[in-house]
Structure formats: C-alpha cells, structure tokens
C-alpha cells in the first residue's frame, strides 16, 4: 500500500512537471519548424509571461483575469520586436548564427528584466485556491489541473492550426522547404514572424500558469528553457504529440529517478536520456509517426 501510494505520487508529480516541460517544448518546436532555428530565448518568454503578470497584478492592481491576457500581449510584443530587430535584419545568416543570436537575445532580455524588475522571486496566488486534491492516494494542486487543461487545449489548437488553416499549412510548407515555399508565393518572412508570435504567446501562457506553483524571477527562464528544449528533442521537434510525450517522459523519469534511485542524480538522469536520444535516435523517439501523419 505504502509503496504503491508512493509510486502514484511519483507518477503524478512527473506528469505535472512533464506537462510544464511539454508546453515550453512546444514553443521551441514551432519556431524550429517554421525557421529551422532553435530559439534559446524561449525560456525568457516564459519568464516574461510570469513577471508581467506579477507586476500587473501587484503594482498596477489589475484583476488576474485582465492581467493574464495583457501579459500575453506584452510578451508577444517582445517576441515581435525580437524577430524584427534581431532575426529579420540578418538576410542570409546561417541557422547556427541565428541560434547564437537567440542566446544573446536571451541574455539581453534577462538583463533588462533584472533591471526593470528586481532580483527577487515572486509568487502568484493559485487560480483556484491552494487546497490539495487527493486522487488514488496521491495529491495534486488545483493549479496542476489548470496546467493539464491548458496543455491539452494548446495542443489541440496548434494541431487544428497547422492542419486546417492556410497560415498553418504555409508555415509547415516553410519548414519542409522554405525556398520552394517562397516560389509558390508564401511569404516566408511573414511566416517566421508568425512563428515568433505564436511561440512567444505560448511561452508566456506557460509562464503564467506555472507561476503559482513554481514561482517566478528574472532568471527562471534558463533551467526551464533547457528542460523544455529536452522535451522537444525527445519528441523529435514535432509541434504535436511528440513533444508532449517527450515532456511527460522527461518529467516522469525525473520524479521516478529522484524517488526510487537518488535525488542527487535527478538532473543527471534527464540529461543522460537526452544524450542517449541524441546519439541513438537524433530524429527523436516518435519521428516515424510524424512523417506518416504528414
């Protein structure tokens, strides 16, 4: 009884953190698919979402229902500026230099956030209270349910967007062959901008819904960005279920590793798996299913 209770708790904790990783991983995957670059500033979008919400609620005194959309809009504006100022001006840059630029951009955003706000950690109240919920002998916070729900909605929406809308299809076309896409009349640069808009909005949404659980500060983006990146890699950079499964697998392995093996190796377990996947299956665990679906 005792052990089985523990196992369910590990599983639930793993799913809860995994869903967060998945949501952030999706942002990586969307930009990668449209532009071929890995946007290492994705973690900063997550941070900005949380920090904007905190300051809109505490200093501007807005109702959370107003503050959340405002924070998403503000972060999206930052995403647009980032694309306009840092990515677009470089006409024929290689993906590698663009990746390096995103790293530079993330340091810049973090630095500005540190100066504009402060170096402290801030907490948000839970969206629906802080009373734990008990399920099968394990406990979850109400906020976890929000995270699950938002993750499912976001995946559903992105699936619909990429499969059934012209813009979504155009973005996919750019990811397969941007030159061919531009030859048939798709404005590739507009699609790149689109991808930054979507992923910064998604990143900030992730940052907002996790802030009540994990708290937020100017530097939360680094670690959480790396974990989201891992999730996306495990999922083969797909903008669908692959990344979600990647996130969940990572979360569960971390929590099982911490609970059953040793918490000292928790991060090591995650990164060893990342390395193994990069060595053995660089296309990700589920890449086959991806190509079939397309």
């Amino acid at each position: 009884m005792q052990i089985s209770d523990q196992l369910t708790q590990y599983l639930f904790s793993g799913f809860a953190t995994g869903a967060i990783y998945a949501l952030i991983g999706l942002g990586f995957a969307i930009i990668y698919n449209a532009t071929g670059i890995i946007n290492f500033a994705q973690g900063e979008f997550v941070m900005l979402g949380g920090m904007f919400t905190v300051s809109l609620i505490t200093t501007a005194g807005l109702h959370p229902g107003v503050a959340v959309p405002c924070a998403i809009i503000l972060t999206t504006v930052v995403g647009i500026l980032f694309e306009r100022l840092a990515i677009r001006p470089l006409k024929s840059a290689t993906p590698l230099s663009l990746v390096i630029i995103t790293i530079g951009g993330s340091i810049l955003i973090r630095g500005i956030a540190m100066l504009v706000w402060d170096k402290d950690t801030h907490a948000l109240p839970g969206f629906s209270g802080d009373e734990p919920i008990e399920i099968f002998g394990a406990t979850l916070m109400p906020q976890h349910l929000w995270i699950f729900a938002v993750t499912i909605v976001v995946i559903g929406m992105s699936k619909l967007f990429f499969s059934y809308t012209i813009s979504g299809k155009a973005m996919r076309a750019c990811s397969y062959n941007s030159r061919a896409a531009s030859l048939i009349g798709i404005d590739v640069r507009r699609m790149v901008l689109f991808s930054f808009i979507i992923s910064s909005a998604m990143g900030s949404l992730a940052g907002i819904i996790i802030a009540p659980l994990t708290m937020t500060s100017y530097d939360v983006g680094i670690m959480i960005g790396i974990k989201g990146f891992c999730a996306a890699i495990i999922g083969g950079m797909s903008s669908g279920f692959g990344t979600v499964l990647g996130g969940l697998i990572l979360g569960v392995l971390e929590s099982m590793g911490a609970g059953l093996v040793s918490s000292g190796y928790k991060d090591a377990i995650a990164f060893v798996i990342l390395l193994l996947i990069l060595f053995i299956r660089p296309q990700g665990l589920f890449k086959k299913a991806e190509t079939e679906r397309v």
Binding site: L108, H122, P132, T214, S263
Partner: protein, 379 residues
Amino acid sequence: MKRLIAVLIGCMTVLHTGMALAAGTVRIGALFSVTGPASFLGEPEKNTLEMLVKNINEKGGIKGTKIELIIYDTQGDSTKAKQLVNKLIKNDKVVAIIGPSTTGDTMAIIEDVEKAGIPLISCAAGIKITEPVKKWVFKTPANDHLAAEKIFNYMTSKKQKTVALLTVSDAFGSSGREQLKALAKQKGLTVVADEVYGPKDTDMTPQLTKIKGTKPDAIICWGTNPGPAVVTRNVKQLGIKIPLYQSHGVASKKYIALAGADNAEGVLLPAGKLAVYDKLKPSDPQQKVLKEYDKAYRKAYKMEASTFGGYAYDAFLMIAEAVKKGATTPAQIRTNIEQNKKLVGISGVFTMSPTNHNGLDLSAFEMVRIVKGDWELAR
C-alpha cells in the same frame, strides 16, 4: 551589460573619491557581488555600507576622520575578485577591505591580502575562511554549524530522534549537509533520509514522498529562496504532518510570502536576531542596534533590512571601532579587530581572539516558529 554596470559603478566611485580626498580620511575598500547569481547577498551589503559611510561622514566622520569608500562588483566571479582586490591594494591603497560576498570569492583573494598585509573582513559564511585562522582574515557571518547545532539542540529538547535531510545542491546546501550529518552523529540523532534538490527545481514532491515513507521525527531543509518555499508548499500539498525545520538562509519575511502564510504555519528555523528584534527581551544586548539598523535601512531604501546587509554592517562597525581608537594603518586596524571583546553587532556579539577570527557563538541565533505569517520565539 554587467560590464557596463561595473564601469558605471567604477565611475561613480571615482567621482566620489575625487570629492572626498581631504586631510584625515581613511580609505576602505569593499568587494561585493552586486550583480550576478549572488546579487541577493551583494546588493544589501553594498546598500548598507554606503548608507553607513554616508551617515558617518555627514556627522563629521569618526572623531573628525572621514571615511572614503571604494566598492567594486565581483559579479560572484573569483577571477574578477582576484583582479579587483589587487586594484584595491595597489592602486587605491586601502587600509582595510570588506567582503567579498561569497565563500568562493573570499578563498580566492585570501592569498593576496595575506601577502599585502591588509585586513579583510569577509561577508561570506564558509567555515574554511577562518578555520584555520589566517592572520589578516576575519569574517562576520556565523558559521553554518552554529545554526545546525541550534536546530539539533531544539530537536533533542523535544525528544525527536530521527531526521530526514533535504538540502540544496549548491555550496550553501552541500556545506550544510556535511555539517548536519556530522553533528547528527555527535548529538546521537539518526539520519534516515538524505535527499537533495537543485537550486532552480520547482517541484520537490518526489523527494518528500520518499522522506514521508521513512517516517522521520523531523525534516530539515537547508537552502536559500526559492527552494525552501517550494518545499514548504509541497509538504502541505502531500499532507505531511512531520515538523519541518528550515535553515537560517530563509530567515526573512520574503520566505513566508513566497511559501504562503498558511503553508509556512508551524515551520521552525534558527534565525539571526535581526528578523525577530521586536520579539526579543528588552534585556537583549543587540536589540537597540538591530532596531536602529532596520529603521535606518527602511528609511534609506524603502525595504526591510536583511541579515546579509548585517554582515557588511558588522564589518564596518569593526573598522569604525578601530579608527575610533586611533588606528590608521592596516596593521593597527588588524590588531584592533582581533582585540574586540563583546562587540555588539547585527549578526551577534563578537568576541575575537588570535585563535578565533569569527567571534560568534550559539547566542547569534534564536529558534523561531512561524505563526500566522509572523515569527514567534520557540521555547
């Protein structure tokens, strides 16, 4: 970015020095990690020191001797600390140095101050800094093992015999973990679980679930914010009723705010007296100093004074005391610091000696319990 800030700070200090160069001044250097990962230490230290020097100079100095302050930012980088300490010694020719903020930075520059013969009063807590004793090196924060001992003494008085440790995997946590384990053995307590978490981890329920399974009498969490706040929330989430102890690293209202007053209810921790000065007995020797410091800091910076700022306060106090007694050269200041007996500061009451360059004892901490979002002395 950081470099720009450093340059700006540098310019400002140069301007400062230009104005203050007059007869009868004592030049003090300071190294703090004002930016970078340890900025939560460096910033209140810098603020405190600037406030104290400003106040003293406005009042005409110490017996007419003005203080001139030169602060550099190490950014928590030992290489930078080493370059800057040489700048302080060779270019600025300071008579004493306060800081650095972290144990790593301090260890890196000990060699330089020992060679140059300049007294250094570190604001870092690492036990290695003053043990073994180095002639020119002092420190103001209490050793971590005093806080650990305080917790274990309290546990023993409550007849708690088994303990689970949950420590952060950074320098503060791993040094705490070693000392907790060693002390537990000495005090006859059994460590039944020894778990760690990363400084940026956001969910500790797996570790706590494991700990819950070992049924300890108490859980000790050792870290600085935000980790311990997450642990406190997770303990509540999992419905764990075992007493939770935190370290002195979270003895600020910030911790209660982050964890949530409901979740933090009943948490015990050894706190520096600054956090609870209004709850101390009027007979406590530190009460007056603590109150004045907190009031002055709130007035100057519109926020509550932190224990970390207190480290710089004490360091400056020691130098100011020495100057008051007429010391002006590095050697005279060093001798004066070493001779301090029952000097009442923020971190505690210091009694230095040639074999003890920290000078604090168990009375530096008070066991407190969190009740309704506030501290209460635990008896």
